[in-house]
Subunit: 635 residues, 2 copies
């Protein structure tokens, strides 16, 4: 049963928890990131991306390119993701000044487009001859993809098609190069595939669909494009290993892939496009591959927090059950990509397992990627931090105990901004006879079939959700996997509804009030003993939130705490002054006495105590201190 | 109270456990390694080291160097370590054929020495102009050092001084270059310092003492030699980072060093020389630094198995308490170096803590470095192995589940051979009024003061030790730290002896029988909760042996086992057919049921069971399977 998430929603406004985040994005993150993109932020990595576009325009007009190009080869995408976030934000809350700024930037972007439709500041400024010669590292298609996503979002939000026209022209240029002229290749970093499918959905342009399918089908086939390209090419960006074909998911044709491998962001961006193409073209073999890859990730290679890509080496998936918490990579962007993949899988089949993972990734890793004030960001999201080791030991150098302001490779910060601003796309869906509530958030939503829902909830802290229905119809509401018991009422009367693959289906009438009470009891989670790092450990959760223990709440030392998981934790009252508004959990615990020596043959004594946990997404907001998700169980 | 270990023993013969290993070295390892050094071993890395010496001789005579130089820049040292092992082996058990082989090799080595005393095949064959221009990576001093050690050992074992003369000439050449001509520098890889001190002890040559002191004192002083050298040099071996001065312990003058840092083998080789120099010159400030570095290693940076250097990055020490078992480096050579350091510290002060660590390193990591049949070797000694992850995951690629035959960088195999063959040096010591029994091994020993001891024991499996005394005198016997209770009898009567810093001191008469019964009860060990990886874990030991759990004894799965550490393990009978002769320990345990999913909110059930442990040094001898030292404690 197909569900449209991407175009199912006509209008979406949110309040509550997510709305507060969207306000933060609008009021703090978007302006802050704009100052970064303009090189006006203090004490942080330089971006230069806007100036790169200005300078590319100058290059095209034969003018002096002033300070030239600065940054990563994919620097353009930072502006694209920021524009996409702006578009979603405008769709939630009009802001003429911001829209004017965006329009001006779009003019600058348009001026940086070559007459043949090519658009990329790195090559336009530095070396036009190198265009399309290094798909492995060159990121031209990646940057185009992000700008296409921005174009679709901006058109959807404002009705303005200036950027969409630029990107359609760019798509035609790519079509001409790879299809008409028949140049071989597929993207080193998948992204343009999913973006072309968005362009197809937004415009109906069949070249976009054909091109996406072409890139997806070409990947991993013999002869391996990346090896052939590397053999011919005499320049490189950072000397990527073209023989490590798993890194870019090019070891096998996509329909034969079964294990999630390689660079995690690349992987999930590719799988997202595959799932979307499967849905658009009813390609069963492609969908079957997507299902296998989904199982590979979620049953063997995913952190409890929805983090994926456990190793810093190649920012990549490791092997099954290799999920170390302290040396985790778990890039913020990879969890965003996992949400994209989940959302597209939901469009193929309404199964709550996809939404469960989407929610897990969102409320834990994605939100943890940003400081509560919106000004600092994590690229890497470990599940354990010990100052003195984390960020210092050679194996833990990437696992920082506090968020930096910005990164030279700044993919994550604007990615968080665009994801949060477009929460509605993930929360709701629609097919020809049913509207879907995948995720819960206070706010209003209008569907194409005319139904409107007003949702009231303080989710994820208060797990009571109320829907007020305008213009009735069939509605599917997800029952999260974590909620083993729940109560669903229509107009105060318990509904007789049995969930089907994680959703209850109701026929709602105009004016109906639907209430859902999910189980808000804290629960302990255990991992399969196939995960070597997690044997003997337990983690504490409530609703969709994974909790963690920080030193600041626990006398500076969480390593020596073990939890009495047989006892029910105490749920604190909602405290609006705690970590941007939060609820603590207090658990009976034991504290192991410090041994005088490194090793001792005497069992160290323990003292009963309480341990206080806070939601994982809030960690590292109170200075450098210990943090641990997976705790020892008390003996 | 100074103790001489290095020259305290006139004669040493061993039987029992260590003797069996020495026989293996003599009968299997030395011949096998000889075939490797001659490129005659099948299916293994090529060595070429003997041919390198032959070819260097040809180069000096202006002849064609045939197949030139092959291997690492420090390839020479493999032959040196093999020769040193041969020397110790000959001192234990004469073997004319082997001695003839060694003499022939010594002729080849002598023919590879330049007229000025220079000796190194890499530079002699490849590029004489580069001599002494790259101390950071060049390993000339390192190779000289190992050949000096071989020369001293061969002279001591056979009375033949041909190699000793070669190496004295080489030492004078080095003295001339660095002292007489005043060329600046100190070794990139410490080794020659400790070797020069051995040469000084063997020959009384004061230039050797002066040169060792010069190198030790120069290290870490301003201006930093390695940075200056790198700035001047236009070639490199593998582009070592000269700015990472901690890597080669050159961040501070040695007397100011407090934390064990950098490449672990370099570190302990340096500290060994520092401790020896402190002892020879009564240098209190140097001894004080050695004590601090000893504490840094043994109280914060050492595995339970005596492994050191926890990170693969630079084969190096990490930071305090960063001791992951599964990604451990814990190089075999580093534990050998730790034994050297311990032995030299014992010469400065008779404190059992040094011998405790020496014994821990020997019976666990050093012995684990070699397969029981003497034919395969570990370079890296993890404390946990999970097939599918170990050796495969990018972070675990160095942690192999089974021993390879040989390595391109083959420092460890011959190092194990020379260490085991010279066990007597570590087991016994002597000062002007007392003989010292640091370690326990069946065999006979004669001291310079005329006392002879015959030791009968099946240590480390049977912890009863009997000494038969010939020509009485004062004797110090170590009481290991692990043995909280023990009984010492002289001629069957309990002796009234209180240990002083880990040793009991007795006045023994000719014909006395001394018996020591150590505590052979298995014991559980716990780590400080400052070690993040070890919270909630326990390890099982008996005597000096750390035990581990392997899949082959435990239904293929040790990850799901947790130990009931409140119950006393059952000690198996000695089984000569098990793992070369061993004793199992059987522990009450619980097996956690496999969860169907990666994460579950239901506490997985457990079943009571038994778990069987074998000594850590025997692991990986029965094919690829799981292995774990630190086990979860049962709830």
């Amino acid at each position: 049963m197909k569900v449209q998430n991407q175009i199912g929603i006509k209008e979406y406004r949110s309040g509550g928890f997510v709305g507060k985040y969207q306000k933060l994005i609008r009021e703090v993150v978007i302006p802050y990131q704009y100052s970064v993109l303009n090189d006006k932020a203090q004490d942080t990595e330089k971006s230069h991306v806007i100036q790169n576009f200005v300078n590319a325009g100058r290059a095209l007009r034969g003018e002096d390119t002033a300070d030239g190009f600065y940054g990563m080869v994919f620097q353009d995408s930072d502006l694209a993701k920021w524009l996409e976030a702006v578009a979603y934000s405008l769709s939630l809350s009009p802001d003429l000044e911001l829209e004017n700024t965006a329009d001006e930037l779009i003019d600058i972007i348009a001026a940086a487009q070559d007459t043949d439709g090519y658009l990329n500041t790195y090559y336009t400024i530095k070396d036009r001859e190198k265009r399309w010669t290094n798909l492995l590292e060159g990121h031209e298609l990646y940057c185009s993809g992000h700008m296409m996503e921005a174009a679709c979002a901006y058109f959807d939000a404002t009705g303005k098609d200036a950027l969409l026209k630029v990107m359609l022209k760019n798509a035609e240029h790519i079509y001409d190069h790879f299809i008409v002229k028949g140049n071989d290749g597929c993207p080193g970093h998948p992204e343009v595939e999913l973006a072309l499918l968005k362009m197809y959905r937004a415009t109906g342009n069949k070249h976009c669909l054909e091109l996406a399918k072409h890139f997806i089908d070409r990947r991993g086939c013999d002869p391996n494009y990346f090896r052939e390209e590397a053999a011919k090419r005499n320049w490189h960006v950072w000397n990527a290993d073209s023989s490590d074909v798993d890194y870019m998911q090019a070891g096998k044709p996509v329909r034969e892939q079964t294990d999630a491998v390689g660079h995690a962001v690349r992987a999930v961006y590719l799988y997202t496009a595959m799932a979307d193409l499967a849905s658009l073209t009813e390609d069963e073999s492609l969908l079957a591959a997507c299902r296998k890859l989904w199982e590979s990730i979620t049953t063997k290679r995913m952190y409890l927090t929805g983090g994926i890509g456990s190793t810093v080496h190649g920012e990549a998936f490791s092997v099954d059950y290799d999920l170390p918490g302290d040396t985790a990579y778990a890039e913020t962007c990879a969890s965003i990509g996992l949400m994209l993949f989940a959302s597209r899988m939901l469009e193929n089949e309404a199964d709550g397992k996809y939404a469960d993972v989407m929610e897990r990734a969102f409320y834990n890793t994605v939100l943890a990627g940003m400081q509560l004030d919106g000004k600092r960001f994590f690229y890497v999201n470990p599940l354990e931090v010990v100052p003195g080791i984390s960020g210092v030991s050679p194996t833990h150098r990437h696992d920082l105990p506090v968020r930096p302001k910005w990164y030279a490779c700044a993919c994550c910060p604007p990615n968080v901004a665009r994801l949060i601003s477009s929460f509605g796309v993930y929360a709701y869906g629609e097919n020809k006879d049913t509207v879907f509530c995948h995720l819960f958030a206070d706010g209003q939503v209008s569907f194409q079939n005319g139904m409107k829902l007003t949702c009231k909830t303080d989710y994820p802290y208060d797990l009571h959700i109320t829907y007020q229905v305008e213009k009735g119809g069939r509605i599917a509401i997800r029952i999260p996997d974590y909620s083993k018991t729940w109560t669903l009422c229509v107009n105060g009367k318990e509904a007789d509804a049995t969930p089907e693959k994680g959703y209850v289906y109701l026929n709602a009438a105009d004016g109906d009030t639907i209430t859902l009470a999910l189980d808000d009891t804290p629960y302990f989670v255990y991992a399969s003993s196939r995960v070597p790092h997690l044997t003997g450990k337990t983690a504490l959760c409530r609703g969709p939130l994974v909790y963690c223990f920080e030193g600041v709440d626990n006398d500076g030392d969480v390593l020596s705490l073990s939890l009495k998981d047989g006892e029910t934790p105490v749920v604190g009252s909602y405290d609006e002054n705690l970590l941007g508004g939060s609820v603590t959990l207090t658990v009976s615990a034991a504290r192991t006495e410090d041994t005088k020596s490194l090793y001792t043959a005497s069992r160290p004594g323990t003292k009963a105590c309480s341990a206080v946990a806070v939601p994982y997404y809030t960690w590292g907001n109170r200075g450098e201190n210990q943090m641990r998700v997976w705790m020892d169980e008390a003996k």
